[in-house]
Structure formats: structure tokens, C-alpha cells
Symmetry: D4
Subunit: 178 residues, 8 copies
């Protein structure tokens, strides 16, 4: 029997792969299976159809799609499946992702896409949103999510504490050159 | 035993209620239980906390939040739950919803919100996205979604056919004054 | 033998039909055959494939596509044909067509779309651009284009003359209430 | 008895600390006590509540909050206190702070935030605005503010004088490589 | 002895007076004395100087300035006083107040202005922000502010309750035609 | 001998004539001779050349050009004359004049255009700027300009006075329904 | 007999030449003859007229024009020919090409320009769009276009395959430093 | 007798001096006398008044003002003189000069400013526009302007010729590394 792969990540071009790296780190952290494909809605539309046909067999539950510029990828996928689709606007191009953000968020009625933030910030949140959706029927995942939130909260708490102890100047130099 | 209410809709002000009407029509069409609340993230933050505390008992699975201007409501809810939150930018105010769209989509990493389109278009898609998420563990809902898509597709197909039969002029006048 | 229909106009929803009316007037003026279809890239993708398959038989040479919001229609058509595709951004929605303009113009490399202006202005120019393309192998059309330009030029010339004769105040009231 | 700390600075993430450095220099220059905390409205909401509870005891009078992207921090603080809140939009992210600027300035009615400029320019002005507010009941501070303005004015006056003496070319090279 | 007038409201043109009406209602509600002037930074600069000279005698503590387009008024006032200045972007002109919002918020370092939202929403918040500042040395005002917040919170609470009782349809029609 | 006509106003289309009406009122007020033409840079380029050839004979000194959308008119005129050209962005089209504003202001180096505000506000200022330029060699015009400024200043002064006397409510109703 | 040169490329300034390099690579790949000229609509308008006069003799069929800022070049050419004109917005200047994009796309009715994406992406697509237009009467070119699409599709297919084989980490490092 | 200085250049801060360098080169090229001052509308308003008082004695005819962010400088100068004022938006700050462009162009009626392009491009054009204005009463300057235009035109003509001779590749490398 085939292994279930609940998350299918699709990027519109090789240059978008770096953006979704932090998304993949999130999925790994939550031990959620995923696959990554490079498929362009505009340049390889038939490959997209082939991928979508495999979703049922693989048990795909959420699709995460990242593309830049006119960024049709998330919407085109959403038009061919009733699975939830999350769209990440890539910051490629002269307009820094504003074009992609509008394309992904301003979908016409009938074909929803869940738009997250431009670039790597959005990629992290796409991963977390997918996990939130999966956790609706997976209590262990729900528990991990709560733990993750607590860790993140603690991280900021500890940074805050360190800031109070060191003072701003020392704290900033302790961060290394960034 | 309390009835399960999988969808909790929250709007930031009374003036946003009209925007979410088509969202509610979608939920009714799919026979999905929902509740609607008017709660402002900024003006009644403690009421929001009370609402969020009821989610577990009610079996809430997806939150749909609509607000305008700086539109903090979806993000503030998302910061206090690990349930998926869908944000609808209201088109209130001088900037026609661009401010709300950016606030909802550009969430910082760690706290995802699923942003949909500005206004009523987004409200319809928020309803459908919520149903897509619920349908991951409800085969009857999945079947209804496919039927809905087919109906919408047929609707356009019939409009197209009517357009071909009547010609553009007659077709446009057949639409009544709009 | 089937009649040749060199121009295929596609709109993404019934509400966009009014925008393309002046495009059709241009095509009629130049006695260029056309067909109009309502097909959504997102809601009826398979209908789009069926339409595209008919292009060869009908002798389609240029496609004119109009859609609003994330406006994927022109790009999706362009991804499935090597015929020139002209995209008209509809001014539907809260952002007055800026979203559609960016989606249509900011196409990724490999799949060109010729973007024109938002709304009815763009529709007129889409018609003229299509005629310009057809006129590359149709001298009669080329001659008509030059005549059209001369007429438009004359129209402005006559308005200017009338303005000089009447003076601004009288000229403006002669325009009727607009 | 606890020392009064009239200014409480809160940033949404460690990466925003560098932005508020010039704000702190202003407060030091005016010998106004302040504290700095890293607390995220979205990721550590309960820490924010804890901080806000300490305001009365510490004699906090003005809060300065800096965050990027959807930048809910200033508004969320403002919703939980009736102290004046000044918001600094961070220039983090693909949109260079335009998203944060709109989020902070376009607050819904009932919960005011005083928005200043994006980035370090705004941080300086946030510090000065806070001092202006404090100076309403502190004549020494008012006097210092007037002296500061005079100094700044003199600085520009001297630069202008030097420019007149040296000429543009020499003046620009005297500024060193910048 | 002259009556103290802690708030001085200045608008750049007669057409901006309607925008500040809700600001004045706030000040009346809190029984805070105010004066309103129509003075243009660009067209009557010397009148502005005269007004500013009266501030000390009148005990002015906060200035609220509203102007549209390039909206220099708040900044010009701020350049001539060390009192806190709150700027309201008017929504006059073709750009719906985006120009005024940027002019008011993007002040250069050294001369702070507290920018609030565009139009009447901003006017309400300008009034509240001014009251928050005054309340730093007026405990009765502070108490009133808390009461006001509680009332607003209750208002939304009652609307929410009514919505739950009536259901959305009836609730919306109970709002009258709006 | 031909009468001197120092100001030549050119609009890109009949629909822009209404925008320049207040410009003409300014020129009449200052008794400056002008001519108005409807000439499109794009649709009647050769007419533009003919107009420009008449400038020397007529003694044209300043050109005022108004156009919408991509608004090439002011720049094209500027490319063919060394007379100062003032450009007024028309607010025609879906983007409310933002497109025209950028086209007119963002001229490439070598061909200056003096851009003023969008629409009727810009038209008034275009008239005044032209008069300012003409007044550099016409002392009577310079004196009139100073008188005009004083009148405008007085107008606001009287409005301010009336506002103080009547109070805001009565003053606003005295303005009639607007 | 003169060699036919179906494509005439015009750039507004030397600095735009680098942008059109990938356009030229496309034309070379398809063995389509072209010429490149540096001619400014604003600075050398008469040179433009001379160039346009040569089009008939050379058999020019499509013009590709690239310019930045107010970017009048494509429109001015379009106003003087009935050949199809493709406009590429250059990303020169402070606004990253948004100004040029609006100028080129928002042409007034009567004078169409086919706008493509900002910068090099647009340059590639301008080349392809020109080839698509030429291929309407050149079957060999049509066949080459289909082959090109297939190659591009295959390229992505192979990248996708390599990604599946190597995994994301190794695939990304195999891309070299980029 | 004092030397006439027809052009007065004012910048809002030392950091804007580099932007106006090409403006000064234009003025030198045309042998037009100028002075440069660093005066902030917001930080040294009284110095501005002093400068303006010297205009009559010096024979100032045109003012060129450059400032960034909310960029009140050109408008404030314009409010205190009836000499023509040219405003250059500086590209300082997070919004790349869009804020300054809107502030300078969107002046309220009654106080005109001639806005040119953002940054150094605008600085060149500000210089040329000033010379165009001065040339209205200086035939030698008018002749120089025509010569300058011809030179610029020739420059592009020669670049075009060189491009034709060398071909694109060689031409681009002949430009040196840029």
C-alpha cells in the first residue's frame, strides 16, 4: 500500500524553491509527509493535471503552491480540485511580490485560495496553516501545534529576558552581525 | 449534548455583517452549522477571549473573520487558537480594502491566517474554503463540493449557450437592468 | 466548409460582457468575424480546453480575453496555444482593475499576453490591436485601419474646430449633459 | 518605592530592535526613563497582558510600539490601555513597510494609535513625540525640547554656512564617503 | 483670567470642517474645551503664526490638524511648536487620502506628527488620542476614558446579543436602510 | 499685427475640457490671453506639430496640457518646444489619475514637464503657475498675483472669522447643502 | 532587393539596451530578422519619424519598444503606424517600473499598445509575442513555436525529475551559487 | 551693485545635496547664476523666511526645492512667494520617493508647485525647466536651449549609429562595466 503524503507542495519555477525551504522545515518538524514539484501553470499545464490526478491515491489533503508575478499557479490548481489550496506569493520581479499577492488573494468567487504573506514569512505560515488543517483530525498533531506555539512564545520570552539582562547594546551585539 | 457548530464567523463591526451574508448562504447550502458574532479585536478584546474559550465545547473547526481598515481581528484570533482562521478584508474606508488586504495577508511568521479576496467575493470563497477543510473528514461534504462545482460550471455553460443562441445584444438585455 | 472566425473573444464571467461591447463594435466596423464565449479559467477549465481545440478548424488567429480580479483567463489561454492572446483587465472589484492589470501584464517568461488598458478603453484597443495583427496579411484591412485612424483624427480635428468657433462654454453645453 | 518609568517601548520581534535604537538615543538625550521589551502581539499575547498590567505601578505614561508586516502590536496594546500609544512601522518585508504603515495608521474608530514614519526616521520622531507629551506636565522637559529644536536648527544653519563657504563639491567631499 | 482651551483644532480648508465634526463630538462628550480654526498652511501661513502665538496664553496642550492632498498643515504647525500635534488625513481629491496619509505620517526626523486614519474615523481617534494625552494629568478624564471604552465595548456586546436573538436577516433589517 | 496669445492650453480629448475650466477662469481673472485646443498626442500627432509651429508667431510663452491615462500629451509637446510646459493629470479612467500623474511627473531627463495636481485642483494651479512665469517680465501681473494671494488669504480669514462667530454647526449649514 | 526585417526593436535610452538582450536571444533562436535602434520619443522625435518611414520598405511587421519612467516611446510609435506595437516597461528609476507599466498599458482608446511584463521577463515575452504574430502567416515559425514550448515544458519536467531524485537540499546546491 | 542670482536652490537636508548635483551641472552649462542652501521647512522655518526676504534684492526668478518623505519644502516656499517654484522629490526613505512625489504634485489650489521626476532625473529636468523659464526673456538662453536639445539629440543619434556599426554585444561591452 502506498504511503500517504498529505501535503503536496508545487512551485512555479526553480527560482521559487528557495522560498519554500522554511515551509519544508515546518513540515519536517511536525513529521508531516510532503512532496515537492516544480510545475508551471503556464508552461507545463498538462503536468499539473497529471499531478492532480495522483492526489486521491496519495491521500493528499492540502496543496501549497508558490509562484511569482501573475502567479496563476495556486488558482489553477484550486480550479481543478476541491482540496484546500494555500498560495504563497513569491517576491520575484520588479514589484517585490505585490503583483503575486493580489493575484493570489483576489480570486474570483467559486474557487478559493488561502493566501499567506509574501516570501519566506508566508512559506512558514503556509506550512503551519497546512498543519492546522491536518490537525483537525489528528490529535497528536494538534498537541504538537500547541507545543510549537508554546516554544515560539518561550523563545520570545527568553529573548526578552536576555534583552532585559544585557541591555539593548549588548543584546544587539550578542546577535552577531546581521 | 451540545450541537456541534464547526464554523464560527466573527465580524469586527456591525457594518461588516452585510459582507458576510453570501458566506452564510454558502454554509446554508452545504448544511454546515455556523454561528455569527460581532466582536471587535480592538474594542472588545476580552469578549474575543470568551468566544475562543467556547470553541472546544462547540466543536469549532474553522474560524472566519471579517474586518476592515487595519483589520487586526483575524490575526488576533489566530494568535489565540491553533484552529485554521480565514480572514476576509472588508472594503470599508477610504482605501477600498487595500489596507485590510495587506493586514490580513502579511501576517508575521508563526501565526497563519488564510486571506481571501476583498468584500463579498472573498466572503463566498471563505465559506467554500471552510467547507473544503471540513470535507477532508466528511465524504458527504466532499461529494456536495464536487456537485457544487459542477453546478457552477454548468451555470456558466448554460449562460455561454444562451449567449451563443441570443447573441450579445439580446443576451445582455435578457439580464435585466444590472 | 466552415466559415473562418479569426477572432475568439472569451470573458471570464457574464458581468464582463458589457466591457467587451466596444471591442465588438470595432470588429463589426472592420467586418472581422468573431465569436464570444463566457468561460471561466477557474470555474470551467475543461470548457476552455474544448474551445481551444476548435481554434484550428475555425481558423482562429487572435484571442481576446477579458477577466477581473486575479484575472488568470488570458494567461491560461496563452499557456495552451501559440496564437497571440490579448488580455483586457476588467475593472470589477474593490481595486478598480489594478489587480487584473498586474495579473495580465506581469506574465512569467515563456507565455506572453498582450495587455491593454483597464475596462472599455482597453476593449476598444484590444479590438484594434487584433485588427492590426490580422492586417499584416490582409491589405484591405490595413487600408481600413488607415482610414479609421484618419477618421478618428478628423473627428478630433472637427471637435477642435467647433471648440474654436463656439468657445469653451458653448462647446461644453453643446455636448449635452454628460 | 519603585522608580517611575514613563516610557515603555515594545517591539514585535528581535529584528525590530535595531530600528528603535535612535528612539532610545532621543530618550537618553532627554534623560527620560524607559524600558524595552520584545513581545509579539500574535505570538506572545499573554505576555503583552502581563506587561500592560505593570504600567500603573511603573507610572508608564506613553507606549511606543514597533512592528512590521501586518503590524498589529500598536493597535492591540492600544485596545488594552487608555495611555497614548505611538506606533512605528518597521520596514521589514517585501513591501518596505507600506503594509505596516497602513495597519498602524488606519486604526478603527475608538482605539487611537499615533502613527509616525516608517523605520528609523519614525523611531526618532516617536521618541520626540513621547517627550512632547511628557513635557505637558514637566517644564524642564519642555525647556529641553526647545533647546533641542534650537540645536537642530543651528546644526542645519551651520551646515548651510559651511556649504556656502566651501561650495557644493568641497562640502560633499567633506562629508566623507556616504 | 482667560479660560483654558487645551485643544486647538485647525483645518486647511472649509471643506475639511465636516470631517472633524465627529472629533468635536468626542471632545464635547469628554467636556474638553476646544477651538476650531480654518487656516491654510499654504494660503495663510502668517495667520498660522498668529494662532500659534496664542497657544501659551490659552493653555493649549494638543493641536489637531486636518488637511487633504499634500497636507502640509500638521507638519508646518509641528515645526513651530513643541506641543504634540495630531494629523488627520482628509479624503479629499482623486487619491482618496492616500497622498495626505503619506504626507502626514512620513514626517522627517525632528518634527513629529501623530498620524491617525483617513477621514472621519481618524477624526474620532484624533479626539480620543488628545483626551488620552490630557488624561495623563487629569484623573477625572482618565476615569471618563475608561468609562467610554466600557460603553463602546458594551454597545458591541449588546449588538452581538441582539444579533444572536434576532438572527442575521432580522438584525440587518432592524438596522434600517443603510 | 497678430495679437499675442501667451498661453496655449491643449487637452487630449473632449472629455478633459471640463477639467481645464477653472484654469481658464484663472487666466481670465488675470486678463491673460489664451487659446484652447483639443489635440491628441496619440490620435492627431501631426495636428500637434502644426499647433507648435504657430507658437512663435503668436508669442506663446507657456503651454498647459491636460490628458488622462498614459497621458503622453504634455511630454510630447515638451519634446518639440523649449517653452515651459505644464502638465495636468486628468482623473479619467479606472485608476483615478494615478497613471496620468506618474506619466507626467516621471519624465526622462532632458525634456522637463511641470506636473501639477490631478484634476481641477491642478488646473487652477496650472493657471497660477503660468501667470507666475509670465509675471517674471510683467510687473503688473506680479502685482495682481500678490493681490490674488491676499484675496485668497482674506477669504480664508473671513471664513475663519465667520466660523468663530457662528460656531461649527451653524457655519456648516450656512454653506448650504454641499 | 532589400532583405526583409520583420521586427524593429527601439529602446528609449542606452541604459535600456541590456533589458532587451533576452528579447534578441529569442529572435535569434527563431531565426527572425530584427534591427535595434536607440531613439527617444522625447529627445529625438524626428529620428523616430525617419525610422517609421523606413518600415514599409523593410517589411517591418511588428515593433518592440522599451522605455522607462513615463515611457511614451511605445505609444508615440503606435500613434504613427498601424503595425502592432509591443511595449516593454523598463525597471529604471525609483518606482521600479510601475510608472512605465501604467504608461504603456493605460493607452487611450484608438492607439493600442501590447504591454508585457516589466524588465527582462517582459523582453522575453515581447520576443515570443512578436514571433506568435509572425507565425500567423509562417507555418515553419508556428512549428518552431510549438517546439519551443515543448522544450521549455521538458526543461521544467527534467528539473522536476531531478528535484525528485536529488531531494530539495541537493537540488538547490546543484544549481550553484545563485 | 549686487550680482543677480536668478536661481535659488534649496534642499531640505544635507543628504539631498547629492541629488541636486546634476541640476547644478545644467545651470553651469547654461552659465546661469545660482545659490544653494540647506534649509528645512520643518526644522528651520524662520531661516526660510530670511532666505525668501533676500529674493527681491538678488533678483531671484525661479526657486528649485528638493526634499524627501513628506517633502513640505517646495510647497512652503511657494506659499510665501509668487515666484515659480520647482519641486524635486528626493528618493529618500522606505517608499523610494513616492511619498515625496505625491506631496509635491498634489498641492492644494492657490499655491502651485511644478513637480518633476523623483531623484537625479528630476534634478536635471528642474534645471532645464528653470532655464526654459528664464529663456522667455533671454534670447541667448533660448538659443542655448535649442543647441542643448540638438546636442542631446545628436548624442543619441551617434549612440544609435555606433550601435548599428558595432552590433549590440560589442556596443554593450564598449560601454564599460556598468
Amino acid at each position: 500500500m502506498q504511503k500517504k503524503i498529505p501535503i503536496s507542495i508545487v512551485v512555479g519555477s526553480v527560482s521559487d524553491l528557495k522560498i519554500i525551504e522554511p515551509c519544508i522545515e515546518i513540515l519536517k518538524k511536525f513529521s508531516v509527509e510532503y512532496e515537492v514539484s516544480v510545475i508551471s501553470a503556464h508552461r507545463t499545464p498538462e503536468k499539473l493535471d497529471l499531478l492532480i490526478e495522483t492526489f486521491e491515491k496519495k491521500g493528499t489533503e492540502v496543496i501549497i503552491a508558490c509562484a511569482g508575478l501573475s502567479s496563476a499557479l495556486p488558482g489553477v490548481i484550486a480550479s481543478k480540485t476541491t482540496l484546500p489550496v494555500i498560495g504563497i506569493p513569491s517576491d520575484a520581479g520588479a514589484l517585490s511580490g505585490l503583483d503575486a499577492l493580489l493575484s493570489i488573494s483576489q480570486m474570483p468567487s467559486g474557487v478559493p485560495v488561502a493566501c499567506v504573506a509574501i516570501g519566506k514569512t508566508g512559506a512558514i505560515n503556509a506550512g503551519l496553516l497546512a498543519v492546522e488543517i491536518l490537525s483537525l483530525k489528528d490529535k497528536r498533531l494538534k498537541a504538537k501545534l500547541k507545543k510549537y506555539r508554546a516554544e515560539k512564545s518561550k523563545e520570545i520570552y527568553l529573548q526578552n529576558k536576555k534583552l532585559k539582562t544585557l541591555g539593548l547594546k549588548k543584546f544587539l551585539s550578542s546577535l552577531g552581525k546581521k
